[in-house]
């Protein structure tokens, strides 16, 4: 959808709206009170991406009488609306809000309000950066005067002032490092923060001692700038993760928060999902997701199971059949009897599997921490040996102390502490621009070392949208008939048929949809039927199970006129992307829960030799865990609820933005492009980032090899230390910026319905 034509497309969009508006009860559940009679509701509007979008959505909302304020946040793609519960004594309907947004052509979703914790942490970090920046600049000003030859009394005064500025900064801004270092030490580990914490503390107190004794060299400036640089790295790292997280939660698919429970006397009551108990009867309308596992007791429908088990064709259900939580009822309304509470439904079984699979990834240690493992003992050993060597050599323990401090400062983990986060932030920014979210830096490190890729089929290699196979010449008249029937159904096959008809469609009278079977209609004396073979031609068995295609038959008075076959549409660029990763020498495979003929057809089309079909979620996760134990590094790409345990068990994982919530949360990367070329691009970016990180380490170590001897010999003055420190940091940052040349074709950025990533998203990478 282009933002500029939003208004004109609105009507069309409403008809084809992929999901229904949230109900009033759901909106009230997710709103919070912000004053007497005022409620605030936050909605995610993933498609807003420019100034016109902002004014369109805000004006549409402000036109409503109950709306007090409405403000769109373009960065998080959300709109927060404050509305009055009553207008002139009449209770206002909260559904008006999403309805008003939908009328302008934008989709809005409720989202699970993200915890505010990460936001407060971000603000704390930025405040710490500001404080340490203030301290670093002012102390540096004073230090410059000292270096340019202030006499003794002035020098002491300046040192005292520096000490006073540095102390609060050390406590306020340094607390992140102290906390993290203390955590590591308490668990018998060491990380990058241990040498940092020791370095800044030691150098501060040694400089204080120097100042009291009217010494010449104080390292306050180094202490403060070290803090400042490191906090920048830390903040960038956090902002990158935060951004990905908020973009992902903003996409949250509308999971039912409650359901309409039908009482014994036929009364209807809307209840939150946790309050549904076994045996409750629940009414489910066409287009609703099923909230808990249950048994159908009334009505009939076609159930879309793709998100749950990868089955691409909808499954008809009738009374007595079991349905699983998370599946989507497409064509008819159902009454089900809950057989499990929300906590014990199919989804929670998946979550248990995921928890079992967690172990593999928790063991992965980030490259910075692995470097710290060698780095910190070496540095501390060097400092201690320099201290004793100088002490015994000339008995001047004060000088020995200063040399030891100089070693700690000179080998400052600054370059090392910046080397990794800056590269990862730049890489994440490039990926973000290409519509790929990264959960954290370690995900890129893990992606850089894979040698095997496993794909799920439905929704990952394919879009999960059926397409009419034009295998024989379609007679336009028959097509018009079929499409005329198909437009009346929400069944995905019917919708694909209706979409395939470009010309006019025949008009019928008395159209009736029979859920789980098809559509029946009259035209004059004739009865037309469109649906599965058994329904359309009464009693002839269907050949569905052994065919790679789904089939819809059009019949006139029970005689077949035409049979239409459908196949799942491949993602754009799928063939090229698969060829690309193949060329890079990865082993490829498909792990699908769908039927074997369908999977083998896709595998043949893409040239993937290894495939497994009919897999349960447990088998998928088992395969990933097995690959892990055999020493292979597996990338899993999947989207369904059934893929979530596998996504967790794999070495690293990716999911499309259209994936189920639980799958998106399990994945390390989420791509918002329609095209599968996101996979090779993410691999390419991660490998380049990996190379740059190694280069940066080499630069930092090379610099230390030159600088450390100078410090050990006692020639390092605070001036030399400050210059050396800054240059090393600048070098690694400049080196990281080379990643900015990485780009991808922008033609497959997913359109409406998922976020459109604006170039400015990569702002912090530029």
């Amino acid at each position: 959808m282009s933002c500029c034509a939003a208004g004109t497309e609105g009507a069309l969009d409403l008809e084809r709206a992929p999901h229904k508006l949230p109900s009033a009860e759901e909106l009230v559940i997710s709103s919070r009170s912000v004053g007497p009679g005022l409620m605030q509701t936050d909605l995610a509007v993933p498609a807003v991406h420019c100034g016109t979008c902002i004014t369109t959505v805000e004006q549409a909302l402000r036109a409503l009488p109950q709306v007090e304020r409405a403000r769109v946040n373009l960065s998080t793609k959300r709109v927060s609306v404050v509305w009055r519960e009553t207008v002139d004594g009449v209770e206002s309907d909260p559904v008006d809000l999403p309805r008003a947004i939908a009328a302008t052509g934008y989709d809005s979703h409720l989202f699970t309000a993200a915890e505010q914790a990460s936001d407060t942490l971000r603000n704390q970090l930025i405040r710490a950066v500001a404080v340490s920046g203030f301290a670093a600049t002012n102390i540096m000003l004073l230090s410059v005067s000292v270096w340019s030859g202030a006499d003794a009394a002035t020098r002491d005064l300046f040192h005292w002032i520096s000490a006073m500025i540095c102390a609060p900064a050390l406590i306020y801004a340094g607390r992140f490092f102290y906390q993290s270092a203390w955590n590591a030490i308490r668990h018998g580990r060491t990380n990058m923060d241990v040498p940092i914490a020791i370095g800044i503390t030691l150098s501060y107190f040694a400089s204080l001692w120097e100042t009291m004794n009217h010494g010449e060299h104080a390292y306050f400036d180094a202490t403060a700038s070290l803090l400042f640089f490191l906090l920048i790295g830390r903040t960038l790292d956090h902002v990158m993760r935060d951004r990905a997280r908020s973009a992902i939660s903003g996409l949250a698919r509308l999971n039912p928060r409650g359901a309409m429970v039908v009482g014994i006397d036929g009364s209807r009551e809307y209840r939150a999902i946790d309050e549904i108990s076994v045996g409750d009867q629940i009414a489910i309308a066409a287009g609703d997701r099923i909230p808990v596992d249950g048994r159908v007791i009334g009505g009939g429908s076609d159930i879309d199971m793709s998100i749950v088990n990868g089955e691409s064709a909808p499954v008809p259900v009738k009374p007595g059949d079991l349905v699983q939580a998370g599946t989507l009822s497409l064509t008819g309304s159902l009454t089900i009897e809950a057989t499990a509470t929300a906590r014990n439904s199919f989804l929670s079984e998946i979550i248990n599997l995921m928890e079992a699979a967690e172990g593999g990834r928790a063991r992965y240690r980030r490259i910075a921490d692995r470097a710290a493992q060698y780095y910190s003992p070496v540095v501390h050993l060097l400092a201690i040996s320099a201290f004793f060597a100088w002490g015994f050599y000339d008995g001047d323990w004060k000088h020995a102390m200063m040399v030891a401090i100089a070693v700690l400062i000179i080998t400052c983990p600054c370059a090392l502490g910046l080397a990794v986060p800056v590269v990862q932030v730049v890489a994440a920014g490039r990926l973000f621009k290409a519509g790929i979210m990264v959960k954290d830096g370690s995900a890129m490190e893990r992606l850089a070392e894979i040698d095997m890729i496993a794909f799920d089929k439905t929704g990952t290699l394919t879009l999960g949208r059926p397409k009419l196979v034009a295998d024989h010449a379609m007679d336009p008249n028959t097509m018009a008939l079929a499409a005329g029937l198909a437009v009346h159904s929400r069944h995905p096959l019917s919708q694909a048929l209706a979409r395939a008809q470009a010309g006019p469609v025949t008009v019928f009278d008395g159209v009736k949809e029979i859920p789980g079977s098809g559509i029946v209609a009259h035209k004059g004396e004739d009865v037309y039927r469109l649906g599965n073979r058994r329904f359309a031609c009464e009693g002839q068995g269907s050949g569905r199970a052994d065919s790679a295609y789904s089939e819809v038959v059009l019949s006139k008075n029970m005689v077949e006129i035409a049979a239409y076959r459908f196949e799942d549409m491949l993602r754009p660029h799928a063939v090229a992307a698969i060829a690309d990763v193949k060329r890079r020498g990865f082993t490829l495979g498909i792990l699908s829960g769908d039927r074997a003929p369908v999977v083998s057809a896709i595998a043949g089309k893409l040239g993937i030799a290894n495939w497994k079909a009919d897999l349960s979620p447990k088998e998928k996760a088992g395969f990933c865990a097995e690959a892990e134990t055999e020493g292979a590094k597996l990338l899993m790409v999947g989207d369904g609820i059934n893929d979530a345990p596998a996504l967790t068990a794999a070495h690293v994982s990716m999911a499309p933005a259209t994936a189920a919530d639980v799958g998106r949360q399990a994945a390390d990367f989420v791509f918002m492009r329609d095209g599968l070329d996101a996979v090779p691009f993410a691999i390419e970016a991660s490998q380049r980032a990996g190379r740059l990180i190694k280069e940066n380490f080499a630069l930092a170590i090379g610099y230390n090899v030159i600088a450390v001897p100078i410090a050990l010999l006692g020639y390092a003055t605070p001036l030399i230390a400050a210059v050396a420190m800054s240059t090393s940091s600048i070098i690694v940052v400049v080196n990281a910026l080379r990643l900015n040349r990485l780009t991808i074709a922008t033609d497959t950025l997913a359109d409406s319905g998922s976020a459109v990533v604006s170039p400015s998203k990569a702002r912090f990478a530029a």
Binding site: I54, T55, R71, I126, A130, T154, I161, I165
Partner: protein, 51 residues
């Protein structure tokens, strides 16, 4: 030398003023929506955040 007695506190005070101004702007939510702010600057209507 005597100058320093005045100048250093003044310099620190001015720097501190900048710091306080930044912290205030952070607290008042001016960094919440940087992408949106870029567009709002060129929009016609006067839409100030009603915080």
């Amino acid at each position: 030398m005597n100058m320093l007695i005045y100048l250093i506190p003044i310099a620190l005070f001015l720097g501190g003023l900048g710091l306080v101004a930044f912290l205030w702007s952070l607290k008042s939510g001016q960094y919440e929506d940087l992408d949106g702010a870029a567009w709002r600057a060129i929009s016609e209507d006067d839409d100030r955040p009603e915080r």
